[in-house]
Subunit: 146 residues, 2 copies
DNA sequence: TAAATAAAAGACAAATTTATCCTTTATACA
DNA sequence: TGTATAAAGGATAAATTTGTCTTTTATTTA
């Protein structure tokens, strides 16, 4: 469904929001330890998100990543689109380039409603909401150690 | 959503069903021309499907691929599972290995209903049904030439 | 202003997916 | 029975995705 990059990206933003109290910044090392993701690779994904102003960052001492109030309110679809593009919501299920309403692939209409559901779900879910779920201990972002 | 392999595989079986009249066999060359797919690569995918008894094949003169009556009635999920496995229906949206009802990722429940919808759709759609849609000219399997 | 810190960025490597080519095997039919 | 045909299978290559390492840039603070 999502690429590995996107999975890491989503987990990272959720962790940042869940971990930074009062605008405190979170370092890439801490982020990756807490979401079980490769550090340098995830750093590059966060670079994409900062360039797209979905995440904020600060270099130097006490630097790190954080989300301002506006960014916390962003929907998950912003993260997904920045990393994986819009193919998941707009592309043909069978990979046809010219699939459309007037020139549909055999699963076009059935696929369309699923695509729309995915899109709707990602539009209606905010980063903050998912961060709160982590804060409250209602969900996790990494495999539990035994 | 689906891998390229799976897209080719689905398009191939639909074409075979739509093109083979009275159990006639369809060659890999004809298949690939009509679904815009690389021949040798698609051949390997059809090998997977024949090994899984989703498609039938015959070597030699007048050989090729075809689907018997039972196979035509198979649901699309058989094709997808044979090629891409069950990850799409069972895997975690954020890629967590131990995501579950009792140890959910932040989007677990929202994702679950979408996964189920995809599964249901693939279970309810038969290869034959899609082949008929092509036969009737109601849908296409390749980009139209201008 | 210099040192320490942490993100940004560039270069490179591994792994996986996608694609191609060549040989082998099975089948039909002349 | 031999030849043509077409799928099966093996080996290899290209492309993309994922992952790592090193250098550069910006910022804080002593």
């Amino acid at each position: 469904m999502f690429s590995k990059s996107c999975e890491y990206g989503i987990r990272a933003v959720i962790y940042i929001v869940s971990a930074s109290k009062n605008g405190e910044r979170v370092g890439i090392g801490e982020i990756c330890q807490n979401i079980d993701a490769p550090e340098h690779f995830t750093a590059k994904i966060l670079q994409i998100l900062t360039r797209n102003r979905i995440v904020s960052s600060q270099k130097g001492v006490h630097g790190g990543f954080y989300l301002d109030d506006y960014q916390k309110g962003l929907a998950l679809i912003e993260v997904v689109t920045a990393i994986d593009g819009k193919t998941l919501f707009t592309g043909c299920g069978l990979g046809l380039k010219q699939c459309s309403e007037t020139n549909p692939c055999p699963i076009h209409s059935k696929f369309k409603s699923i695509r729309n559901d995915i899109k709707k779900m990602l539009e209606q879910t905010t980063i903050e909401e998912l961060g709160n779920s982590i804060k409250k201990g209602k969900s996790v972002l990494k495999t539990l150690k035994i």
